[in-house]
Every structure is written in C-alpha cells, then in structure tokens.
C-alpha cells in the first residue's frame, strides 16, 4: 500500500497548495515587469473590493459617532471600545453560540451523507449511478433564496406539506417554533450543499489509479477493506477543503434565516447569527462603527478556525 502516497490529496487553498514549479526555479524565466500586464488588472480590483474595505472597516471600528443632545458632533477615536463592548454583548455571544452549535451538528451530518453518496455512486454497484449523481448535485444550482422559499412553503403549518403531515398524524409540530427553526434552517443548508460536497469527494475518488484496486484485489481485499484503506484516505484532502468551506458557511450564515425570518413569525431575532446582527447594526440600528468591529472579529474568528483545521488536517496526512 505504499503507493498510497501517489493518491492525490486535495487541495487546500493555503500555503501547501503551491504549484510544483515554485519549488525548483523551472527553466530560465526572465525576470522583468511584463508579468504585471497580466496580474495588474486583478490586483487593482482586488485592492478596490478587498483590501480597501478591510482597511476602512478597521479604521471605522476604532471610532464612534458623538452625539450631544441628539446632534451629531462628528466621530471620535475610541480605541478598542467597540471591541470591548462587543465581547460584553450578550446578543453577539448568543449568535456566536448558535452558529457554533449549527457547525457542530449540521456540518458532520452533511459531510457524512456526502461521503456516503460519493462512495455509493463510485462503487459501481448502483443501478443508474449517473442519474443519482446529477439529481443529488442539482440543488447546488438553486439560489439560497429560492431554496429557502420552497422549504419555507413546505414547512408551512397552514397550507404546506407540514400541515398535511400534522393532519395525517394528528400532531401539531411547528417547524418555525423557536426550538425547531434552527433545525429547519439546517435542513435547508444540508439540502443545498450535499451534492456539491458529494461531487468534490467523487472527483477525488475518480483520481485513484486503477492499479491500486487491482493490487487490492490480488491481495484478496474485500470491498470494505478497499473503502477503508484506499478510498477514505484518498478523499481525506477533499474532506478538509469541504470542511473549511462548511465552517466558513456556518459562521457566515445569513441568507436562509433572512428569507425565513418573516415566514416564521418572530422566532428569528435581529441577532440570530453574527452576520444577521452585523446587518441589523449597520442598517437598522444605525451603528456602522460597531457593525464594522463585529465584521472584523467574525472574519478573524473564521480565518483562525479554518487555519487550525487546515493545520491539524495536514499534520495527519501521510
């Protein structure tokens, strides 16, 4: 099984994902300014849409509008006051705990199902495998707004499918209740991304050299042993990528609760997730400085966790 080292592992967008030619300086590529003709345009827009707002938000987060008897007195430098306030803000913690809970429960379920589906479709034991591959992947094409509207209607207690279910079983389950609405959101997100993750894993499985399976067969390995010794290690890298994207998605949760908010009555609060709260602070509470501090903290938290996951993941890789 030493040839396992050849099994490509994915890709992490990170320090390790540098093309091979970076290591030995390949050939003699002349070093001059011509490269900027190609890279320049991207860098200009990257600065406008990425670096500039980041810097502006950092600056904003250190200021606070001064009001004297309701009259604006301009902005005043307040140092880390916005950040101190944020860490004492129960609304912020409530949102952070909620998305962490979401991450711990929804992400493993989703990735587990995706892994199962990728292995099943790759196994060659399904009738109509390509039909399953396409149909499971299809929800990825659906915008979050449409996905949430559809599921929201299905959840509906008056005319939705849930109404029919409740009628049939004599129950009165309300999927919009404070207790269940996070589960309802989790179901929508799972539905949207099972197929996408499945396809990433499936693509990784497809890069396993056929000779590896032949060797395993000669060794008399059964199907489970092939899955455990060849297939699961091969998708390990892809799993790390999917995990990082899922972590980002969970911490930045916004679209689904935003669309669902009105349909669900008042169980989705203005601080339901950190992003929701940032949106509320900037547009409804009219406190862009505080909102900027929140956006910066959430960005840092997400990057830090993604980085730790990537480090731990690559440490375990052969």
């Amino acid at each position: 099984m030493s040839s396992l080292a050849v099994a490509p592992s994915a890709a992490s967008p990170g320090p390790s994902g540098v093309p091979a030619s970076e290591r030995p300086p390949k050939n003699r590529i002349r070093r001059d300014w011509r490269g900027w003709m190609f890279v320049g345009p991207f860098v200009v827009f990257f600065f406008i849409a990425f670096i500039a707002p980041l810097i502006y938000a950092i600056i904003l987060s250190f200021f606070q509008p001064q009001m004297v008897w309701g009259v604006s007195q301009g902005e005043q430098f307040v140092g880390f006051a916005n950040y101190v306030k944020l860490f004492q803000d129960p609304n912020f913690w409530s949102g952070l705990v909620r998305v962490s809970l979401f991450l711990l429960i929804q992400v493993p379920i989703m990735l587990g199902i995706s892994t199962f589906l990728a292995l099943a479709i790759d196994s060659g034991r399904l009738y109509g495998a390509s039909f399953f591959r396409v149909s499971v992947f299809l929800p990825y094409a659906i915008p979050a707004v449409v996905a949430t509207l559809m599921w929201g209607f299905l959840y509906g207690n008056q005319y939705g499918i849930m109404a029919s279910v409740n009628e049939a079983f004599g129950t009165s389950v309300n999927l919009f209740s404070a207790r269940l609405v996070l589960v309802s959101i989790g179901n929508i997100v799972t539905w949207e991304f099972i197929g996408y993750n499945m396809l990433i894993f499936y693509s990784a499985l497809k890069t396993i050299p056929v000779s590896l399976y032949e060797a395993a067969r000669i060794d008399g390995a059964n199907e489970w042993q092939v899955v455990r010794a060849i297939k699961l290690p091969a998708i390990r890298g892809a799993l790390m990528v999917a995990l990082i994207f899922s972590i980002i998605g969970s911490f930045q949760l916004f679209n689904e609760p935003n669309v669902l908010q009105q349909m669900s009555g008042n169980t989705i609060t203005t601080y339901y997730t950190p992003n929701f709260y940032a949106f509320h602070l900037a547009f409804e509470a009219n406190n862009p400085n505080y909102s900027a501090a929140l956006a910066i903290v959430m960005g840092l938290v997400t990057v830090a966790i993604a980085y730790v996951v990537q480090l731990r993941g690559s440490k375990g890789m052969g």
Binding site: S9, P13, P19, F46, S123
Partner: protein, 307 residues
Amino acid sequence: MSNVTLRPALTRPASAETATKRKNPLSRKSLILTIVTAIFAIYALMPLVWLLINATKTQHDYVSTFGFAFGHSFALFDNIADTFAYRDGIFARWFLNTIMYVVIGAGGATLLAILGGYGLAKFRFPGRKAVMAVIMGAIAVPSTALTVPLFLLFSKIGITNTPLAVILPCLVTPFGFYLMWVFADQAVPTELLEAARVDGCREFGIFFRISLPLLAPGIVTVALFAIVATWNNYFLPLIMLTSEKWKPLTTGLNDIKLQTYSPAGGQEPLQNVILTGSLLTIIPLVIAFLILQRYWQAGLAAGSVKE
C-alpha cells in the same frame, strides 16, 4: 508531488463510468444500496418537483389541494403571465439585471482570473511573492464578512444603489484566481512560450493564440463557479441596492414575498407569483448544469488534485 495526475483527470471527464466498470469487473449491482441512495435523490428532487407542480396551480388550488398533487386547473401559463405583469413588469427587469450582473460580473471575474493566474504562473516579476501571499491569504476570508465593510466604503464614495456596487465585488474571486494559477502552471508549457518569444511574438499575441486554447478546460470551471455565485448572489445586492430597478432576481423575489405577506393578518403570500418567479429564476441555471455537469466534475478534480 501528485501533479502528474492533473492532466489526465482533466482530459477525460466522460470516462468516469467506464473506469468504474473496468476496475471491478466482478462487482454486482446492489438493490439495497440503490434504494438507500434513491432516498437521498428523492430528498434532493422533492422540493423541485413540488415547485414544478405548484407553479401550475391557481391560488385557490394551492390552498385547497394536496401539495404533491396537481390542481383542478392547469394555470402555469396564467401564472407566468401574472409574474411578468406583476407591478408593471418589474420581473422582466430583474431578469435582465441578473443577466447583466452575470455577463459583466462573472465574465469580468473570469477574465481577471485567467489573466492573473496565467501571469502569476508564467512570469517572474518584482512583487510576485507578495501578490501570491496576499491572494492565497484572501481565499480563507469569507466574502460575506467583507460585505458590510464594502457597503460602508461604497456609501462613503457614493456608489451604493448603482449596478457598480454589485459588479465591483463580483469581479474579484481569489479562489478562481488560485484555480487558474494552478491550471496555467500545468497546462501551458514554458518551453512553448519561450519558442514563440524567440520567433518574435508579442506577449498578448502568445497569450491569445497559444495559451488561451490550452487553458480552456480551466476557464470553463472558473466561469461556472463565477456564474453560479453571481446568479445566486443575495447578501450583496440586498445590502447595496434599495432601488427596485437595479435589483437582481434573488432580492426581487424576496421583495415580492415581503410586500404581499403579512403574518399578522394571517394572509398567505402571493404564492403563484412567488413560485412561478422562483421556477423561472432557476430554469436557466438548471439547464446549464445539466449540459455542463461533466465539465464541472473535471474542473473540481483539477481543484482537488493539487498537493
């Protein structure tokens, strides 16, 4: 170390099924495994089937008949007419806006990623290491975390509520840039470029006539990622745009729901317009997916094969 596998994975996207058969000629089909997988396929397709059925119903049939059964009358074409008639045809405007955002935003993003990725892979220039480090770091920064700061900046310079506010952020995809870099590094032989330079070709001439055709599979992947992201974009237009006339389909659809639905009054939303509008919103992308799905898989393999 595993870059060798990149090219084959890209050049034979359609051979997936044959490879499966070849590697295990003794494998028998399993009915149980098929049934379990079918349950997930039904889960994936169920809401879409529901949408298709209910877009054909009148408001009355919607509230009085079972969700997965057709109504008494087939009202799909009336519903489509209603959708386009809603508030003086604003839906058509939103549709065109979405297409504009996709063409300019996703098209521009793809173009910038191709040029940038190619430039980074095939040239050594001053500041190259810095560009590399900053953009690699940017991949892990979620775009939604930047949306509120972007709004604050754009409102400062006065371009919120214009198409520019939606297009500018769409133009920058660090992930697409990364994919093109990796791809160009593999797909375009440096020797070929050197030979063309010796023959006296100009850099842009080399790029268009030699490199671009070699980059085609990677371009399809990056373009598809960008198109889906732009077509489905919601948070950015929601924040940037207040004027109806610049909205894309996604925020527009949510507006119809907001305007016609008041839970307090116990009133149901204007379901036929919302559902038919949703159906019309997803049809172009679903068709594109069904046609292009094999390229997706190939492109994803390229993205995941890197080490």
